[in-house]
Symmetry: C2
Subunit: 333 residues, 2 copies
């Protein structure tokens, strides 16, 4: 686990989109986001106090999180000075960058000397077991999508929020780098060795209280030619009691695969449920989460209603309508 709270390092983010990790932390774990640190040329702003490293330490920050995608795939000298200063001031550093902190000789040496931790969340830090398929206590929801990047992480986080507001016992379980940085822990599933994928998800979602819900972030899609194996490992390792279908309408094709059309929600429902019932015969599909950002309010409502009538399941855009109805459907199981 990454120690909290965080100082969000925005570097020289060219725009807001480049700082989406920081935005995710601010949105979903505001209690972790004590302040931000911006360099010259930064065009992102989380509306948090701008803090120096020293001020952050003063306020109890434990970890500097790199909340920005860097340009050109290298850690620039301008960043380096800040990162070294952070280590010297007593902070750990967490990053989801492709170029690993640990591969930077100066950072690695400094961290080692001072006993600080460099969290490269893109790569596993745990030796995961092979999945054993044993029934676990507690309940689990998995977000499954028609495609990559249709809002599975967002959906699971929204359901967690809605459940907690209802006083339910619920934990978001991150399976990707952004989710791990937001919540401080999780499994970087796309970087796990094939044989251990399902086991890593069993490890992430162990036995729990009977009324506890793990809300598992989905990855990829059972219908995505590049990443479907990762998705099936989630379905079987996650042992879900409930599936929420996630979809973004109006996509011209599967992400990164111009020759592939998206499957229908019915396709995903049928195939995902059949496979989930291998490990949990009682698994049910409980609702649909739509990303209607390309639609007007009226269009979004009409579309949700159409899908709701067609599938006979509660159907919301959690960003527009909240995830309360999905939480209710889960609570009713």
């Amino acid at each position: 686990m990454i120690e909290t709270p965080y100082l969000l390092f925005l570097g020289d983010a060219p725009d807001k989109l480049a700082a989406k990790v920081a935005q995710g932390i601010k949105d979903w774990r505001p209690e972790y986001a004590v302040g931000q640190l911006r360099l010259d040329g930064c065009n992102a702003d989380m509306k948090l106090p701008d803090l120096t490293i020293a001020e952050a330490v003063e306020k109890g920050v434990k970890t500097l999180v790199i909340g920005v995608a860097n340009r050109g795939g290298v850690i620039s000298p301008a960043w380096k000075n800040v990162l070294i200063e952070a280590l010297e001031a007593g902070l750990d550093i967490a990053s989801g960058l492709h170029n690993l902190l640990r591969d930077e000789a100066d950072l690695a040496a400094k961290a080692k000397d001072l006993g600080r931790t460099l969290h490269d969340v893109r790569v596993p830090s745990v030796k995961y077991p092979i999945a054993n398929g044993k029934t676990r206590t507690g309940k689990r929801m998995l977000a499954v999508g028609t495609d990559c990047s249709v809002g599975k992480m967002y959906t699971a986080l929204c359901v967690e929020k809605a459940m907690r507001e209802k006083g339910m016992n619920a934990t978001f379980r991150a399976t990707g780098q952004t989710g791990i940085l937001i919540t401080g822990g999780g499994v970087p599933l796309d970087a796990v060795i094939a044989d251990f994928m399902a086991g890593s998800i069993e490890y992430l979602t162990p036995d729990n209280d009977a009324d506890h819900w793990d809300l598992i972030e989905g990855q990829g899609s059972l219908f995505h030619a590049s990443y479907s194996g990762v998705t099936l490992a989630l379905v079987h390792g996650g042992q879900p009691d409930a599936l929420v279908l996630c979809h973004e309408p109006n996509r011209p094709h599967m992400r990164g695969l111009p020759d592939y059309q998206l499957p229908s929600l019915e396709d995903v429902r049928d195939v995902a449920l059949r496979l989930a019932q291998v490990v949990n015969p009682n698994c049910q599909v409980v609702g649909v989460s739509l990303n209607t950002s390309s639609m007007s309010d009226d269009e979004a409502l009409a579309y949700c209603k159409e899908v709701e009538d067609r599938l006979g399941l509660p159907c919301v855009d959690p960003f527009r309508h909240g995830a309360g109805r999905l939480a209710d459907a889960l609570a009713a199981l």
Copy 2:
């Protein structure tokens, strides 16, 4: 690729089963198996000429293959002497052992000094791409199973043999360590990083002649809670034109999962075909391969007939009946 032909190193194999890699090479690529090298205490015998390292070199051997599972997970001093001698005599070494050749400092240093290659086939030696799902030329068959270890490698090798006997253009494609050692190349899929699984299979089975068949070794099962993700990556990366269902009757439960019953052949047919058609809408299930080793000849014939009538597909035990009918079914596509 591993250079052929081979000297099969049987070490101090306690019994025949411990030397199953060597047996596989002898059975399926006899032209690669020039001789064997046995140490004191070896109880396995491939009925090949016993050769010293010098004699093997004399006969044109290029690689010493460790054809035995070692005891205790360490490479013993008795083995070391032979392996060092092999490197000094100009041979490469290939191994599927868990303890890697490259992790043995003396072997690694000697190989580096002399310019020899240590092939640890358990770990990938290639940086595989992300799958792109593009349609490829040539034809592909994938063996899919109700469970692990039901005969998928054996089935694909048998079909390759039957096709070649019929003058067809066919290549077995190994996806596990034994198959890689037998044929000299392939993808150790269970050790590939999650994101690159399907891409590794696209890499393994590229564009080919229109009449060429890749016969792809299956792994795991879509119904196996531990390894199903690996299997789905094969289904989507392999882009099969044809599936052959593999099954071993009379198993009490899924391999390694005492709480899980095997799926029916109908289950595997339906789920595997649905998923395969995501990447190849023309994919068909063409036959069934049964491992009837637990049955008498009469029982085996009766069982094959029963399954054949039930599924309406050619159904054979390739070990007992040959794979000719499966090859015919593929040729008819």
